[in-house]
Structures are given as structure tokens and as C-alpha cells.
Symmetry: C2
DNA sequence: AAAAATAACTTGTATATACAAGTTTAATTG
DNA sequence: CAATTAAACTTGTATATACAAGTTATTTTT
């Protein structure tokens, strides 16, 4: 065992996987809290912590007196929640092209989120990608990561790989939440070329700040999204 | 006392109010969990339940070993979270005009969320509003409520009143969460007229389904938002 | 057979306690 | 004085328990 994973986290992962795999289907009831207690040999507050996380992530709904009801799996692009695009789309029909390999650059003037002095001094690793779903370009995203303790990051291969996964596996950085600003804009000439739409076409623009388990370490994405054929989906 | 409000809920409201009122400012630490225990005479799990709700709503962040750190208050329009538009904008500079008074109509064909048989049979109360922020039209929203046990709803006055508040105060219906689909679209002739933009102007379109404390009762909003001057904001 | 009361389940709230793990401050040591 | 160590704080995880409140199934009564 590398490190101890909390019991509630393990149960969360188990139940989540069961729901995603269809063991429990939409409208089904999960085993009652007391059943989960005896099956996994943990106490009810711990079970409830796992269930509460599932509620938070939109997998179940709870009803007093009845139980934990499995929620319909999101059908659109679940980019609004905490998941990265790869897991949001299932990864199957997703292709990622690198438009600009990661390189260290100074931060842009008037960055869309307020930066700390440390972040500004460290410089910024910029990575530009195009993501295609079923062969059609859907996302054009520019990613900005403070250049703090990310050895060999710029020489990594990102093609068809999840940024979230690389950060987690190689650097132990996990995304815990964040904030975002959303606008509808006209596609610029460059964006329209990449997304395969006419210039001036309405585009969804998301500016996101990701909060991580590494204290004080944030990273940022500016995402241009063609929502003509597929809406962006979220729960709240 | 009308009904018993849970202790954790009371503490949540107290701390939330203090943060909003500026008693605790951005970056400040809330009193420690043990301090809150002794001040309010409750135990730590109860205190933690309140703090966890504050984390969930984006008011604080927690750091192990340090404490509960007050988060910056959202500056954009916090419509993506659970709050209704009124509370999201502070209500101060918000004006609500009724475009179409609430009336019972059949549900539209191909409604943007799947409806149950009960919902379809009951019919739909439709209410169309225009919401202005600092005198400028920002939201054009169409609200759809299943016509189930909402006495005198169609004869109520909604001008400059919060739909959420009316549902809560008059009918005991509280919004608990929901799901939404987001797109960038071109403004239609009608929308552009109401929002004061040129036809074809990019508009943010949100289709939302609200989940309530009344089991099985949902209501729906289709919101057209001019994000030219103000982005829509959300935490996740 | 239908209605009402009861029992058996479910989740919601709350207490009391314990130790682990991360952060800060104070004391000790060199 | 500087570096290290220890203590005192913080939040994180977990157990064990109790009763309230909502839902469903059963039993009893009418």
C-alpha cells in the first residue's frame, strides 16, 4: 500500500463505478446505509460521507425515509463540473491535438483571473489544444500553469492524454474545485478556423480557475466551445 | 417557534451572513471548529456540517492544520449556482418586468427536459420576464412550472419579486439543486429586441431544471443572457 | 373489503469521543 | 543567534450511539 486512502473515499469510488457501469440504473435504490455499513464494515457516518459526495457529484439523490436514488447520467458535455474534458466525454470518441506544445512564457497582460506575485514571478507554462468529439472539433483550449515545481513538464507528450491525469499521476496534483466565468462571444478568425465554423459564429467562452490539493497552486484554462451540435451540461 | 431548524443550518446562516456583511473578509480565518463548538454549544460534527455547506456554496475553503479561509465573494452573475437571479445579483440594482403574466398553457412540443406523464397531464404555468441590471436588460427568461397544487399562482403579482421567494414563502417549495444545459446562440429577432442587442448577436442560452424539496416536483427555466458587459459566474 | 393503526424500515440530526495529520508557535539545543 | 525539537494548535477521519422524521409494509380493526 502506497498511502492510506480513507474508507469513505473507497466506498465512493466503488459505488460511483457501479453506477457508471450500470450495476445500478437510473431510478434504482442503492443499498441502505445500514446495509452498506455491514457489507463494508464501516459505521454510518462514514457511509454517509461517501453518499454525500455522490450527491454532490450528481450521481444520486437522497430521500428521507426512502433511500439513495440513482440519478440519470449526464448526457451532454459535463465540463461545468469538476471533471476534465476527457472524463466528461467518456474518452472514447475524444481526440486531442496539440496546437502549441507546452512552453514557458510570461503571463498575459490583464489575465482573466487575479494572479499572485509568486505566480507572476514564476512565469507561465502555456499549452494550446484542440479537442475533437466524433471527429468534429468541439473545444479549443488554452491552458496556463504557473511554472512552479513541474519538472520536465514542457517535454512531455500530451497528445490524446488528459491534462488532469498527467498532473495527478506525475506530479500528485489533484483538482479539488474552482471557479469560472462564462460568456457567449463571436468566433474570431483564428477560433473559427480551428472549430470549423464561420467567423462571427456564436461560441461559448469559459474562463476557468482550478483549485488543487497542492496548497496555493492554481491553474487556468480559457476554453472556446462550439455548442452548435452539443450543449454543455452541468449539475448544481 | 414554527418549526425546528437544525443547528447546523442556523450556524450556516450566521456565518454566511457574517461573510456577506464583511465581518470576515477575504483571506480571513473563521473561528476554529472547537471555538465554534463552545460559542454555539454544539459538537464538532455539527459545526463541520455547517462549514462543509459553506465550502459547498463557495464561501470558504478549508485547509488542514490551518483553518477555514474566507473566499472572495463572486463578482459576476452567480446564476450558475443554486441561487436565483435575485440573490445572485444582490437584488439592489435588479429590476424585474413581466413580459407575460403567469397563465396555464399546454407544454411545448419537444420540451428541453424530459417530462413525466403527471407533469404533462397537469399542464404548465408559463411566466415570461425581463430582468434589468443597472437599467440594462440582462436576462430574458421563460419559466415553466407544472400546474400541481399551486393555488392562486396565476393571479399573483411578480413584478420585482423573486420567483424563488414566492415559491418558498407561499407554497413551501425550496430549490435544492438542479441541472442545466448551456449553449451560445444567435439572438433571434424577439430576443434581440428585449435584450437591446442586434439580431444575430451572440447570446448565452441556459436551459435549467430545478429540483425542489417537494418530492417529484421540478420546474424549468429557459434563460437568454446578454453577456456582453457581464460574465456569468460559477464555482464548482 | 376497506380503512385505520401499528410496526419495520429508511434517512436526518446530534452527541461524545478518539486518534491521525498538517500548521504554527514556543522551547530547547548546538 | 540559528537550527532543531517539542508542544500546542488546527482540520481530517472514524467509531459508537441515540432519537427524530419520513416511507413502506403489515397487522388490526371496522
Amino acid at each position: 500500500m502506497a498511502q492510506t486512502i480513507p474508507h469513505y473515499r473507497k466506498l465512493y469510488e466503488i459505488l460511483r463505478k457501479h453506477i457508471v457501469d450500470g450495476v445500478y440504473k437510473e431510478g434504482d435504490l442503492l443499498p441502505s446505509e445500514n446495509e452498506l455499513c455491514s457489507v463494508y464494515n464501516i459505521t454510518r457516518p462514514t457511509v454517509r460521507q461517501a453518499l454525500y459526495a455522490l450527491v454532490n457529484d450528481g450521481y444520486i439523490k437522497k430521500q428521507q425515509g426512502k433511500g439513495s436514488i440513482v440519478h440519470a447520467l449526464p448526457k451532454g458535455i459535463g465540463i461545468l463540473s469538476i471533471a476534465g474534458t476527457t472524463s466528461a466525454l467518456g474518452g472514447k470518441n475524444l481526440e486531442t491535438r496539440i496546437i502549441k506544445k507546452p512552453s514557458v512564457v510570461p503571463w498575459e497582460e490583464n489575465f482573466f483571473f487575479k494572479l499572485s506575485d509568486t505566480e507572476i514571478e514564476s512565469g507561465c507554462i502555456k499549452l494550446v489544444r484542440l479537442r475533437l468529439f466524433n471527429g468534429k472539433p468541439i473545444f479549443y483550449d488554452i491552458n496556463y500553469l504557473p511554472n512552479i515545481n513541474l519538472p520536465r513538464f514542457t517535454s512531455r507528450n500530451f497528445r490524446n492524454k488528459s491534462l488532469f491525469d498527467i498532473l495527478r499521476v506525475s506530479y500528485g496534483i489533484e483538482v479539488k474545485g474552482g471557479e469560472q466565468k462564462i460568456r457567449a462571444i463571436r468566433a474570431s478568425a483564428e477560433i473559427s478556423r480551428y472549430l470549423g465554423v464561420q467567423a462571427g459564429h456564436p461560441i461559448l467562452h469559459l474562463e476557468r480557475k482550478f483549485d488543487t490539493n497542492r496548497f496555493g497552486y492554481y491553474f487556468y484554462s480559457s476554453i472556446f466551445c462550439n455548442t452548435e451540435n452539443q450543449a454543455v451540461f452541468g449539475i448544481f
